[in-house]
């Protein structure tokens, strides 16, 4: 903890985890804990790191702010089988993170010395130790969470062609700039096919996949190259399945209706996501200037409605990076005001068959928004409850993006009961 910097007074400025758990008895305490851990991040003690077995677990290596290289678990699974998707490298330091420690031989999530939950480390799939015939490590082709796998078709996001156009919260986009024009920006189809052949040999390992990467705006019309790349990868993946359709999701730039139809018809894809990111037009233009210049907020919404016509209700969702709507200086001035707008847009989307989700904002060190403060736990719980209730009101199924297939959407995780 010595090397972490945070506002030591932050606990005095907002309601505590315990108070929030008491305040919302209708929500599972473990889910509120999960939201708070996503918000504040985690830090592993030496004892916790000693429990890491690289022959079994998924490991992340990163250099912290002090320049120290740390090898830590990729992330954690809770007792209820839900998966925290929070890497130590993402840990935000405006509030001190939860501490992963070892107590009575068990790996536990703690805060201020109190043990909250027993946790376990994510295990790696067998293909992680294999390479393709081209010599590519398969772990670089397909990434794993405990129950789902993912592919990143492109690392460079065209919205970062001009840095000021990048989405202000996005660390992935800024990190991806170095791949611009490099041969390893795009996935190789042979690598994909070979890795998929290994992946499906692991019984009981995966329940779904997501493909998502940087936006590709080029082509004979907007995003045509992006569409073609996704189609080719999905087709390469599909060679290992005996059914035309198989559990899958893409999260792309908002494609137009004709492109969506081709994506659906020519691949095994079953569900579609394109994230509005911010549920307010004016803030969208500030937070995501490149996107806004290319596809307006209204057009983005229209493309989501078009996707529902093709993929079906409950097979299309959209998300917001929850918290950026309160970023300074242009964000909403109060959490109440932000929630009001979030729910207004959420109603509009859900009433047209678009499932809602939110991803808790991680303030990345290399994002334009670095140094900002995320909202209170109370805000995130109210947002989670509100989106859950709106999805229920419109009878939207959420299994396309469930706790098994993602884990980062607290409102959808509540659908388990």
């Amino acid at each position: 903890m010595a090397q972490l910097e945070f506002d030591t007074e932050w606990r005095k400025k907002e309601e505590s985890l315990e108070e929030i758990i008491q305040k919302y008895p209708e929500l599972p305490p473990i889910s509120i804990l999960e939201i708070d851990a996503h918000r504040r991040g985690v830090y592993y003690t030496d004892a916790a790191i000693e429990k890491l077995d690289e022959s079994i677990h998924q490991v992340t290596e990163y250099k912290n702010r002090q320049g120290v290289v740390r090898k830590v678990p990729a992330s954690l699974t809770l007792r209820d089988g839900s998966h925290l998707v929070v890497a130590e490298s993402d840990t935000k330091t405006e509030r001190d993170p939860f501490i992963v420690d070892v107590v009575d031989g068990k790996i536990v999530l703690t805060d201020q010395g109190k043990v909250y939950e027993e946790v376990s480390y994510w295990e790696k799939p067998k293909f992680y130790d294999k390479v393709t015939s081209r010599g590519t490590p398969m772990r670089d082709v397909i990434q794993a969470r405990p129950q789902r796998y993912s592919l990143q078709p492109s690392k460079f996001c065209h919205f970062w062609e001009c840095a000021k156009d990048g989405c202000k919260y996005c660390s992935i986009g800024s990190s991806g700039v170095k791949f611009h024009g490099r041969p390893d920006d795009l996935l190789n189809l042979q690598d994909v096919e070979e890795t998929m052949k290994e992946l499906v040999k692991e019984p009981g390992r995966f329940v779904g996949v997501i493909l998502t990467g940087g936006s590709i705006l080029s082509g004979s019309k907007l995003c045509e190259d992006e569409l073609q790349i996704y189609i080719e990868i999905l087709q390469a993946m599909g060679t290992v399945f005996k059914t035309k359709k198989w559990p899958s999701q893409v999260n792309t730039t908002a494609l137009d209706k004709e492109q969506l139809q081709r994506l659906y018809d020519q691949t095994g894809l079953t569900s579609y996501t394109t994230d509005l990111e911010v549920f307010d037009d004016e803030l969208y233009r500030w937070v995501c200037p490149g996107k806004a210049k290319t596809i307006s907020h209204e057009e983005w919404k229209k493309r989501l409605f078009d996707a529902v016509d093709i993929f079906g209700r409950g097979q299309v969702d959209t998300g917001l990076v929850s918290g950026v709507e309160l970023a300074k200086p242009n964000g909403f001035k109060s959490e109440d005001e932000a929630l009001k707008k979030d729910f207004e847009t959420a109603e509009e989307m859900a009433s047209r068959g678009v499932l809602l989700k939110h991803d808790i904002w991680h303030v990345g060190d290399n994002s334009i928004f670095r140094g900002q403060l995320t909202p209170s736990l109370d805000y995130y719980v109210r947002l989670t409850k509100g989106l859950y209730e709106i999805n229920k009101k419109y009878n939207l199924r959420s299994d396309m993006d469930s706790y098994r297939k993602c884990g980062m959407h607290p409102n959808i995780n509540l659908d388990r009961i």
Partner: protein, 162 residues
């Protein structure tokens, strides 16, 4: 505070001829009872069973139980009609990793490759009662000797007179 199961109960649970059912409640408080052929006892003395269907009512109720600290009940009925009721709280569920995948493979090898497995569930045992009728009757009639129909106490020549 969990308790240790007796050898008799462990043997009853592990006997493949025993009938094993689990009772859970939904978030609306509606009880739900299903057979659980996979139910056994693990090396730590916990009840362990598989839920095969991710979207089943039992699965939902088990998640509800772990989220809100609710009690689940198991009944084991042996071939010789002995019955044991076990109550406890969910310790954890396992839906990924080596332990889960081993269970998945074993289930498919036993029941066929079209069977899926959603999760392993582990229950800490808090209470065991023998629910065999004779045992329950002996216990309760000793404890409540006057909770009965009076004809049972009548003299035989009166009780069975035609």
């Amino acid at each position: 505070m969990s308790i240790q199961l007796s050898d008799e109960v462990i043997n009853a649970i592990k006997d493949p001829q025993s009938v094993k059912v689990i009772a859970t409640i939904s978030k609306e408080g509606i009880p739900h009872v299903t057979a659980k052929g996979s139910l056994t006892v693990d090396d730590n003395g916990r009840i362990r069973f598989l839920e095969l269907l991710e979207k089943s009512q039992t699965q939902k109720n088990l998640v509800y139980s772990i989220w809100f600290d609710k009690i689940v009940a198991v009944n084991v009925i042996t071939q010789d009609k002995k019955s044991f009721q076990i109550k406890g709280k969910i310790y954890k569920t396992i839906n990924s990793g080596r332990e889960f995948q081993d269970a998945y493979v074993a289930t498919q090898e036993k029941y066929g490759y079209d069977i899926d497995v959603s999760a392993i569930w582990l229950v800490d045992v808090d209470e065991v009662t023998e629910e065999t009728f004779a045992a329950r009757r002996d216990e309760l009639e000793t404890k409540y000797p006057y909770e009965l129909h009076v004809d049972r106490l009548a003299k035989d020549e009166l009780r069975f007179a035609k």
